[in-house]
C-alpha cells in the first residue's frame, strides 16, 4: 500500500487554509519555560540510580549540550506528575511510577545545573544536533501566525489605506515566498491595485492569477472590482 500524502506536505491537494492549519498543529511544541518545567519535573521525580536511558538513545544523546544551562536555569521547582499511567505493551507489566513529589518544593540551583548535560563534544553527531536544534524553542511557532497575520492586516486596512495594504502584500511575499496563502495574497494585491486605480496593472496580473488559480473563489470578486 502506498503511503498517503500528508495534508501538510507540499503538493497536497487539500485546501490551503487547512494545510496551513495542519502545519501549525505540527509545529506545536513546548515553550522554553514549559520545556524547562518538564525537565525539572522529570528530574525531581526520577532518581538517577534507578533510571536509565534506552540503549539506542545513548549514542544520540552523547555529547549534547542541548542548551542545558538554559533549560536548567532559574525558577521554582516544577510540578511533578501523578503516577497514574502504565507503560505501553512494549514495556514489561512491572512498569509503574513512583509517588508524585510535592509541588513547588525548592530545587537547589546546583542540582539544576547538575541535571544539565555536559557541553557538546566532538562526538556530537549531526542528526542529534539537528534534533536538539529543532526541539529548542524558537520563533518558528509564530511563523504561521505571522504568515496569516500579515494578510489579515492587509485585508483590515484595505478600504482605508490600499497603498499600505499593497505594501503589506509585498512584505508578505518577501517574508513568506512559499506561503500556502499565496492565493489570498495575490487576491489582496489585485484588490489593492484596483482600489488604487492601477487598473491596467491589475488587469494584467489578474490574467496570471486566473491561470494559476482557475477555480479561485476570489476570481469573481476581482473581476467585479476591475469592471468598475
Amino acid at each position: 500500500m502506498n503511503e498517503p500524502k500528508r495534508w501538510s506536505s507540499a503538493g497536497s491537494e487539500v485546501d490551503p487554509v487547512l494545510r496551513s492549519l495542519l502545519i501549525h498543529a505540527r509545529e506545536q511544541r513546548p515553550s522554553t519555560g514549559e520545556l524547562q518545567t518538564i525537565l525539572r519535573g522529570v528530574s525531581a521525580a526520577a532518581s538517577p540510580s534507578k533510571r536509565r536511558v534506552p540503549a539506542f538513545a545513548r549514542g544520540v544523546a552523547l555529547g549534547l549540550s542541548l542548551a542545558g544551562a538554559g533549560y536548567a536555569a532559574g525558577g521554582l521547582w516544577p510540578k511533578p506528575p501523578e503516577p497514574a499511567v502504565v507503560a505501553p505493551p512494549d514495556a514489561p507489566p512491572s512498569a509503574k511510577l513512583e509517588p508524585r513529589a510535592p509541588r513547588n518544593s525548592a530545587m537547589p540551583a546546583s542540582a539544576a545545573v547538575a541535571a544539565a548535560p555536559a557541553p557538546a563534544s566532538a562526538r556530537t553527531s549531526p542528526p542529534a544536533l539537528r534534533a536538539v536544534s529543532s526541539a529548542a524553542p524558537t520563533t518558528a511557532d509564530e511563523e504561521p501566525a505571522r504568515d496569516a497575520g500579515l494578510l489579515q492586516d492587509a485585508r483590515r486596512i484595505m478600504l482605508g489605506d490600499p497603498a499600505r495594504a499593497l505594501t503589506l502584500t509585498r512584505d508578505h511575499e518577501l517574508a513568506f515566498p512559499e506561503s500556502v496563502l499565496v492565493e489570498e495574497r495575490q487576491a489582496l494585491r489585485l484588490e489593492a491595485l484596483a482600489r488604487l486605480g492601477r487598473h491596467a496593472e491589475a488587469q494584467h496580473e489578474l490574467e496570471g492569477f486566473e491561470q494559476r488559480f482557475p477555480r479561485s473563489i476570489y476570481r469573481r470578486r476581482l473581476q467585479s472590482l476591475l469592471a468598475r
Binding site: 495534508w7 487554509v17 492549519l21 495542519l22 505540527r26 518538564i38 542541548l66 536538539v132 497575520g149 489582496l188
Partner: protein, 172 residues
Amino acid sequence: MSGEQAALIVEHAPFVWRVLMHLGVPRGRLEDASQEVFLVALRGDFAGRSSFQTFLYGVCRNVAHAQRRRSREDREIPSAELPETVVQPAQEGALWVKQAHQQLLAALEQLDDVEREVFVLFEIGELSMEEIARATGSPLSSCYSRLYAARDRVHAVLRRRALSSARQELKS
C-alpha cells in the same frame, strides 16, 4: 537526571507535546502530562521491539486517557472550548490561527478514538502508516481506512466552521 536523559527529553518533547495536545489533553495539563510520559519512558522499560517514538506514543495514549479522565472529573474546560480572549488589532493574525487551531481541536473531539489516534499520528505526529499500525496494534488496512474516515470527518467539520469563517474574513 543525567545529560543523556535530558537530551532524550529535549529531542522528543515536541512530539510528545503535540500528540498529547491533539489527543485532547487540556492546555493547562500538558506540562504534567509530558512529565508523566517521560517518567515512564525513562524507566528504561523500552524493549526495542518497536521504534522509540512508537513506544512513546503508547505512553502518550495512556497518559492522554488518564488526563482526560481527570479533566472530566475536575470539570475543566477542554482546550477546544476555551473562551476567546480580548486581543488588540496587532494580535489579530495570531488570534486567527489560534482560533482556527481550536477549531481543529474541536473537530478532533468529534472523531472516534481509533480514528483520532491514526489521524493525529499521521498528520501531526508524522509517523508512517506502518509505524502507526505497530503503535496502535491494528492491521495496516484498518489504519488506512481510519485515516481516510478521520480525514473526511475533519474536513467536513472544518469546512462547516473554521474554513468557511476564515474564507469569509479574507473575502469581505
